[in-house]
Amino acid sequence: MNEAVNQGETIVFWVCGFFAVLGALGLIFSKKAVHSALWMALTMISLAVLYVSNQAPFLGMVQIVVYTGAVMMLFLFVLMVVGVDSSDSLIETIKGQRIAAILLGVGLAILLIWGIGSSMTDVGSGSLDDANSIDGGNVQGIAHLIFTTYLVPFEVTSALLITAALGAMVLAHRERWLPKPTQTEMSKARFAASVHPGNLPAPGVYARHNAVDTPALLPDGSVSDISIPGPLKARGDVRPVDHMEIDEIASLDEGSQS
């Protein structure tokens, strides 16, 4: 196998390996949850590139589309909505959680080291080109294996995923007692509530300024109270209305009409 490793592959391995490890460390040591998610995305992309350079292009691309593109994106989505930015609390909510976590972590580490270690000694190296050319290509080879030898595990996994998706839908489901109000109904309710249904009148309407402190005037010359922002009203910053001018205009108007 060593003969097949050319210079380009070595460079790719060291670059991607560096970024994969960097991403993994960043995932653990980041203070912000969103940063952790981003470091993890970096690790996933580096691994995908390594898959491709190991002549498994299908796996590499699916890794990016599914894990980086969908799973991590949903993670980010939840983090953004919930806004988990505070540091973790160290209080145990489930009794014996810490011991169980340590035991399981050690067990997983032993399993991984054992598995990877035995694969390095017991399993002989083969040619990737040969493995890919059995069925005429990488994609065809994967399809052949999934739909013959590994059909049952594949289907069981998909059943598990569908169950999980259904479970999530059941958990998030809320029974509606009343039919959902339509846009028309909501609009009718808004008008029936007898508060101002639309945009409030803009300041400065029918006045000589369009500054926010200039109240809108109603057709009879009185001030429209809802046209001024609340804080300005509270500070007493409303510009007084020059009624003399309005009267003058009104008298001119009357004069022109009669």
């Binding site: 299908f58 593109g69 953004m80 008008f191």
Partner: protein
């Protein structure tokens, strides 16, 4: 890749690879400048305006000048921004937009400085999936931009776009499946050569239509431009960006438009192959000519993008999500099943095309009959329900409840008649003051 069928790829000398990379970069930047001008001109025409016509011939240099001006503007970074992520988001967006073009075939094998090489940077067995993968990384740019701006509207825009892209990527991926089944490959160059006799856009029309819809959603273009809906979110994810960083987002958006158009051309319109009347000419599919056909096809898609923008209003967000999940995805799954069954019947059971069409027609007629029966039944139910609701609504309807919000016209007495009993009527007398004013005016109309 050392696969035999990809022998023409990955054997270029290093200078040719660099030449191709630079050429793709230049083509994309030029196409972006052109597309911005083209969009402004076409939309102007659709709105009875003229559009930019001052800088350069026909205003062609307008977008170049705008770009230079944009890049030289002052940069404003909000205090609450998460700086590292804020910096990297536009970079991710722009680089990913360029990367996707590495596998798009521009034309057949040509000779460049004496080297025979295909007009395509590279290709490998899963290059269409590669485009999908790159697109899904590109979303990170938008989502991170929204999050890192530390401001409400960008965050909402980022959330919208992540939900939108995940939803529409599924429909997009499903629309590829039928093409893969017919081409027997996921590599772009092989999909193009599989369309020698007939374009997939013709025989796989439903897939084509689903893809066109999904690509509009995927590129945030009207009527699916909810992440940057200016009426609701100011500018969406890029509200807090300015100067060169904003320019990068702008660039990425237009390159993505070109990319999805190029992918549509590759998968459904025969890529660089000459269209019918031109294909009668023998030389149409060799040499550098195919690049012209490719460009024309891509421009057709871009025109469709602009046309949609000029025509359709923006969707409401829940309608948009419902459309994606409850219509596009089920329809594409059903269509894939039909295509797969048809392929299996033809390949394994030795069905002729004719009998396949006959069986298909029979199945469609049967389905139509069944659905018609169901529809008639539910229509009757719905009609009865509607009648009951309408009868109830008529009793309580009151267009000007107590003179609010629609006051009666001066002197008007609102009489509301229900359908149930024409005799029973309600009378609303207008506000006294209004009535008085009106009577005054009626007495001396000259004022």
């Amino acid at each position: 890749m050392t696969n035999s069928q990809f022998g023409v790829f990955g054997v270029d000398p290093w200078w040719l690879v660099i030449l191709k990379v630079v050429a793709i970069f230049v083509i994309l930047v030029l196409l972006t400048l052109f597309t911005i001008w083209w969009e402004r001109r076409v939309v102007s025409r659709m709105q009875n305006r003229i559009g930019p016509n001052r800088v350069g011939p026909q205003g062609l240099l307008q977008s170049l000048m705008d770009g230079i001006k944009l890049a030289l503007k002052e940069e404003i970074i909000p205090k609450t921004a998460h700086l590292a992520v804020y910096w990297i988001a536009p970079v991710i967006s722009a680089t990913m937009a360029f990367l996707a073009f590495a596998v798009i075939p521009f034309g057949p094998t040509v000779s460049i400085f004496g080297v025979e090489t295909p007009l395509q940077l590279t290709d490998f067995p899963v290059s269409v999936l590669y485009v999908l993968a790159i697109a899904s990384i590109g979303i990170y740019g938008i989502v991170l931009a929204g999050w890192s701006s530390g401001s409400t509207y960008p965050l909402l825009g980022g959330l919208r776009s992540s939900a939108q892209m995940i939803s529409y990527e599924i429909a997009m991926g499903l629309s590829f499946v039928a093409v893969f089944l017919y081409a027997g490959s996921m590599s772009t160059s092989e999909i193009v050569s599989a369309q020698q006799s007939v374009w997939f856009g013709v025989i796989l029309l439903p897939s084509f239509l689903i893809y066109i819809t999904a690509m509009t959603g995927e590129t945030n273009r009207a009527p699916f431009d909810l992440p940057e809906a200016e009426g609701e979110l100011v500018g969406g994810f890029h509200t807090e960006y300015s100067s060169l960083k904003f320019a990068l987002f702008f660039l990425a958006e237009y390159i993505n438009m070109v990319t999805v158009s190029a992918l549509a051309t590759t998968l459904f319109l025969g890529g660089w192959m000459a269209p019918w009347p031109l294909s009668l000419w023998d030389g149409a599919n060799s040499g550098w000519w195919p690049m012209l056909w490719w460009l024309l096809k891509v421009q057709i898609f871009i025109f469709i993008f602009i046309w949609l923008r000029g025509t359709l209003p923006r969707l409401r967000y829940d309608q948009f999500m419902k459309f994606g999940w409850k219509l596009l995805i089920p329809v594409s799954i059903a269509w894939i099943i039909i295509v797969a069954v048809a392929r299996a019947l033809r390949n394994d059971v030795d069905f002729s095309n004719q009998s396949l069409l006959l069986v298909g027609a029979a199945v469609i007629v049967l389905l139509l009959l069944v659905s018609w029966a169901f529809q008639a039944k539910s229509d009757r139910k719905q009609a009865a329900l509607d009648e009951a609701v309408a009868a109830e609504a008529l009793v309580t309807v009151d267009a000007a409840a107590g003179g609010y919000p629609v006051p009666p016209m001066p002197g008007q007495e609102v009489t509301i008649t229900t359908r149930r009993s024409m005799a029973a009527s309600t009378t609303i007398v207008a506000d006294r003051a209004v009535t008085e004013a009106v009577t005054n005016e009626q007495e001396n109309p000259d004022g």
